[in-house]
Amino acid sequence: MAGEKKVKITLNGKEIEVPAGQNLVDAAKDNGVEIPHYCYHPGLSVAGQCRMCLVEQEGNPKLQIACNMKCSDNLKITTNSEKVTSAVQSSLEMHLINHPIDCPICDQAGECGLQNYYMKHGKYHSEMREHKVNKEKVVDLGDHVVLDKERCILCSRCVRFTQEVSKTSDLGIFQRGDRAIIGTYNDESMKGNYQVNTVDICPVGALTSKDFRFEQRVWFLDEAPSVCSGCSQGCNVSVHHKKGKHIYRLKPRFNEQVNKWWMCDKGRYTYKESNYDKRLSSAQLGGIDLPFEEAIQAWTTDLKVLLAMERSDEVGVFVSPHHTHEELKSIIEVLVSQFGITKFYAEDIDAMVKADAPIDGFLYRSDAYPNSRGFLKVFQDKKIKLHSVNDLTAALSKGSINHLVMFIPEGDRILPVTGKIARAMKPDTFVVCLTPQKGATDQFPGALSLPSLSHYEKTGTVTNHMGLEQSMMAGFKMFKESHSVQEILGLLSSRYSDARHEKGRVGT
């Protein structure tokens, strides 16, 4: 919002400068004052349902809701007066009247708006003598979302999301008074590719994700900022993992330019491909585990023989745009600059980029790689020609490539391509697979496989469809034996020069 007109408002007696027209809740948050709110969400329209954001405005005898207030000159607001505090407490008490308080079995516990505000603005003594109204629990809303009607505080965030953002209009509020419930018309399932966003924005545990249901309590989870690997949109996500050993879920991270507060369900489940159960956990030769050092040594030996006979044109490298810029840089430094390898093969990324378009008109795009544009740019800058997969299969069946380095990303989408390559290959070709995926190397029976890092463990930069470079800072590693591409190639390069200069020295 740079360059916009600024206005001066007084917040709790302190004069602050904020952009004109900014929402008061956001303006207060930017200046370190928290105004409690449930129904207000910066990405949605203002509803004024929850009455939690009541503030005192000078010159107005009644309390006003901050979410419906735009910052203008000489606005004088108090958020910490006796009147405001007791009003907020009473609002929260009203929200809790029919809330079941089943926190022990609620997945939201630990990140729940009711819990957080109860500790800050709770009344602690309920004045209700009536029984709580019982409503339906565990309502199935399709493939991704479970609804608990009792826990809902009717903030209508999810309703507004389906109306304004995903435009599916699945959800609505039905009935009146204390019988009012959130639901779908005729109990139909929710539709579309953006259902789980309603779970993210739900301030209580009314909407919970089926995928994450009962999986883990949120206070055990650590967060790591990353970028989604699902498509070229590059939605900012935070990876929720437990001690770096198990990824439990992805949540969108706010980015004004890319995904705002949202992400699609397809992208949300891409973590499964990176998770521990799908991963290659140690180096293998022909499916049998061997120490990483020995695997590198075996690779170095074969490469050295070929390069010593000046047959570097018999080395082929299969790359794909799942690499970060840092990985591509090390690939080019080691394989091109040091070893003089020129034969690079990839899928038809150029066509993929040209055909790239949003599939559902919102976030999800047809190009399934997170870094296609950056990938093409790196190879164009270095003037390295990328050959097609058909060229590779032809060369393999002719026998003109005897040493193939495959960088195979996690996930199933690459398997048809690698399968095609595997079928064309002669059995005596030396294949090295750098892959995080367990099943990827089954197609290459005698291959040497080295476990590399999966997308959500990587630290690096990717370029999305609009050319925006975004960095990922995961900083965790599931397996001790897996290494980043940079580390593996660096080790290869140092082993290679070691072996050349110091004859007879093997291993470490």
Partner: protein
Amino acid sequence: MSNLESRSYLIGIVKGLITTGGHFFRNLLGFGNRPTIEYPEKRRNYSSRFMGVHILTKKKSGEIACTACMLCATNCPAECIHIVAAESPNPKVEKYPAVYEIDLLRCVFCGFCEEACPVDAIRMGRDYEVPELSERNFVVGIDYLMNRPSLQNKNISVFHEPERIAKMPEKKIA
């Protein structure tokens, strides 16, 4: 003189034998308080606050009372509790522990799990004799924690027997 006394070690030996013999005959003939007991037949009365092997309590129907909220695992300083939560087969119950395991060798018997539990589903029991041949047998599951014979099926959670909770005087709202 003192040199001679220290050199004649027999005096020291006799003194020692008198002490040992005194204990021996006192224990043999049963005078005074014996420091030892005949262990397997006789047992000491432990304090009522003694904390032994945990008990998982049940509902009256015999179902496990635990709701798998994992507060015990959160509170556990030894990280010895492993819970896998799942959808309960009983449609009236939402969440239950499909796996509840305590590694008794890791456990420090501090009782923090009991304090954390909101539904009286885990208690510190009174059993302290848990001999096993293999280390892995010390990782005990629901079957042992809830249904071992020494509990005599009396481990009903007070959360499900509200009549056993002492009535507190109702608090007046200020």
